[in-house]
């Protein structure tokens, strides 16, 4: 176990080195002038002959390895260039948008886990019965409806027809309060900050704006979690200790909830962890449809405007988040489940 964790830890720098090299390789397709936008921290730096000086300064006319080292040096110091989309440095833009995505991920993962596991367990308990078959069709539908269609349908029903769930992150009045100087941003998560500032109605408004994207993400993720939970639950139900529990005369409810489900949850936890990282890693489509100001919608806007600096900055940060997150999930999997001896 320790050996596995240590080995994965040792490989982390190698993966990160490869990740940066790959992104740097992508960057080499850009012209030097386009490339400069990823270095400067203010567009005024690019006026006049300044560009030539900057190309010299950042070594853009020098061999690959020199350029690479200089770029890494910039990135380590948090300099990702100037974001044309948001008109501020990329690092600031990401810091500003990240809490929104984090908030969406936190609120989504709760219904995803509860619903997905419940559906999976139900499906397994009623193995091959009518409910199981219905849930199988439900899972296949979940795989077949793309996020942009589902999101639009939800937007249509709950905003277009019913007018209940508006897009965005906050209503107009509340976002003015949110941006005002008297409002303290403790965490960047609107719901938490609203409560800390004693604004209960703002908290409710923020929750209301979260419902539609959370619904979209939940429906899309349930299918995957349902399948994993179902098959691991079926496996657990076939184990000897379940037969023993039944032989002892325990009620079916206790057998399922106490004996089988606990063991069946382990793989589901891992998948849920990966899903959480996936949502953090940018739910581009969902955020775009609901005008939710997170990293994903920033990525889409920046890409449309050919804002190289922002797109590359987000990619690098999210590569790192994914690598470290996956490592954490893998190690915790091995920690929870002593039966697992990964490689």
């Amino acid at each position: 176990m320790l050996g596995f964790a240590a080995r994965r830890m040792l490989l982390l720098p190698v993966t990160i080195l490869g990740l940066t090299l790959l992104i740097f390789l992508f960057m080499s397709f850009l012209s030097p002038y386009e490339l400069l936008s990823t270095y400067v921290s203010d567009p005024r730096q690019l006026q006049g002959d300044a560009a030539q000086t900057l190309i010299k300064q950042y070594g853009l006319d020098q061999p690959f390895y020199v350029k690479y080292v200089k770029w890494i040096d910039e990135v380590i110091h948090g300099k990702f260039g100037w974001s044309v989309t948001l008109n501020e440095p990329v690092s600031k833009a990401i810091m500003q948008r990240f809490p929104a995505t984090l908030e969406l991920a936190i609120y989504s993962i709760i219904p995803i886990i509860l619903g997905g596991i419940w559906l999976g367990v139900t499906s397994a308990v009623h193995h091959n019965k009518f409910i199981d078959q219905m849930l199988r069709v439900f899972a296949l539908l979940g795989y077949s409806i793309p996020s942009f269609v589902l999101g639009l349908v939800i937007l249509f029903i709950f905003y277009g027809v019913l007018g209940w769930l508006p897009p965005g992150r906050l209503g107009v009045n509340f976002s003015m309060i949110y941006d005002s100087s008297s409002f303290y941003h403790y965490t960047g998560l609107v719901t938490i900050d609203a409560l800390l500032n004693g604004r209960f109605w703002m908290f409710l408004d923020a929750l209301k704006h979260l419902v539609a994207p959370v619904m979209t993400l939940s429906f899309l993720s349930w299918a995957g979690l349902l399948r994993i939970t179902r098959s691991s639950m079926l496996e657990a139900l076939g184990q000897d200790y379940v037969r023993t529990a039944r032989a002892k005369g325990l009620s079916e409810r206790v057998v399922i909830n106490k004996h089988a489900r606990k063991n069946a949850l382990i793989p589901a936890t891992t998948v849920a962890g990966l899903m959480f990282i996936g949502i953090l890693g940018g739910v581009v489509i969902t955020e775009t449809i609901f005008n939710y100001p997170g990293i994903g919608s920033l990525m889409a806007q920046a890409s449309e405007q050919l804002d190289y600096a922002t797109v590359l900055g987000i990619t690098l940060i999210y590569g790192l988040v994914t690598v470290i997150g996956n490592l954490a999930v893998d190690i915790s999997y091995a920690l929870i489940d002593p039966r697992v001896r990964l490689r």
């Binding site: 077949s144 409806i145 937007l155 890409s303």
Partner: protein, 282 residues
């Protein structure tokens, strides 16, 4: 029940294949590039279904029926090209890694890990931004970030098959490496790949459509399902007091097409799993 859903899957896939093949007869192209959707005017407001436009028109008067029919071809083309190339790359890398093992395996799998470090859409978007928008660039970017699934799948599968005695027998008989790979290892480890390909025929065109939805894929007016859905966005949420169902057809026809297409391939994949991989039947 199970047979009924399997049958439905086969029928849906067959239906879309027929639509793709017969596109020139179902929706005869009027001029030049058949993938360019004909316009019946320049008005911004979508028009409801009529004799001339059976599914109605989008904003800018693009014919939805024509877009749906020729979009089927786009979907198949994107699916076949992306999966074809990704499968070739993935199988090569996975097979080499599993067959040789040791440092070659280690090296190839670390490279795979690096590509896996990118969230898929983020990776594709960064490449499309750099290469410039367009369907070909989208396909290229998708290939670059899609082969890893196949590489891992075939590697795991071959590692299992390699332990079988008939492989050892072949080695003992002095069969050459490429013979062992092509006659024993690949044919016996291909089943998970076939299931995966069927599922991916649903996923891959949908992902390409998602990029078109964001405005990064096919150019404006190109027959592509994602773009048709994108056209509907402004019309189905106008909560200005009017009838919200007024423009229902702008989302309904492209949306239902996409879902049925993906459902067909997913049902087919599910059926193949039942047939080819009895272990998964539990």
């Amino acid at each position: 029940m199970r047979n009924a859903t399997s049958m439905l899957g086969v029928l849906l896939v067959a239906f879309f294949i027929v639509v793709a093949i017969c596109a020139p007869f179902l929706a005869p192209p009027s001029y030049g590039d058949p993938y360019q959707i004909p316009r019946s005017g320049w008005s911004v407001t979508p028009q409801p279904p009529s004799a001339q436009n059976p599914f109605g028109t989008t904003e800018g008067q693009y014919d939805i029926y024509y877009g749906v029919v020729w979009g089927t071809r786009t979907a198949f083309r994107v699916g076949l090209i992306v999966i074809g190339f990704a499968l070739t790359i993935g199988m090569t890398i996975g097979t080499l890694a599993a067959y040789f093992g040791g440092w070659i395996d280690e090296l190839l799998m670390r490279i795979t890990d690096i590509f896996l470090a990118f969230p898929f859409l983020v990776g594709v978007i960064v490449l499309v931004t750099i290469l410039g928008p367009g369907l070909n660039h989208v396909m290229l970017a998708m290939i670059i970030f899609y082969w890893m699934t196949f590489a891992r799948l075939i590697r795991g599968s071959i590692l299992q098959v390699k332990e079988n005695q008939y492989v050892m027998a072949a080695v003992a008989l002095g069969a050459p490496g490429y013979g062992i790979i092509s006659r024993h290892l690949i044919p016996n480890s291909i089943y998970p790949i076939i299931i995966q390909v069927s599922m991916d025929m649903a996923t891959v065109p949908l992902l390409a459509a998602a990029l078109s939805f964001l405005g990064l894929g096919a150019p404006v007016g190109y027959a592509d399902w994602g773009q048709l859905v994108a056209f509907s966005r402004n019309w189905i949420i106008s909560s200005n007091g009017g009838n919200p169902f007024q423009f229902w057809y702008t989302i309904f026809f492209p949306g239902i097409t996409i879902v049925l297409y993906a459902l067909g391939w997913n049902l087919l994949g599910d059926t193949l799993r039942d047939i080819l991989d009895p272990k998964m039947l539990i």
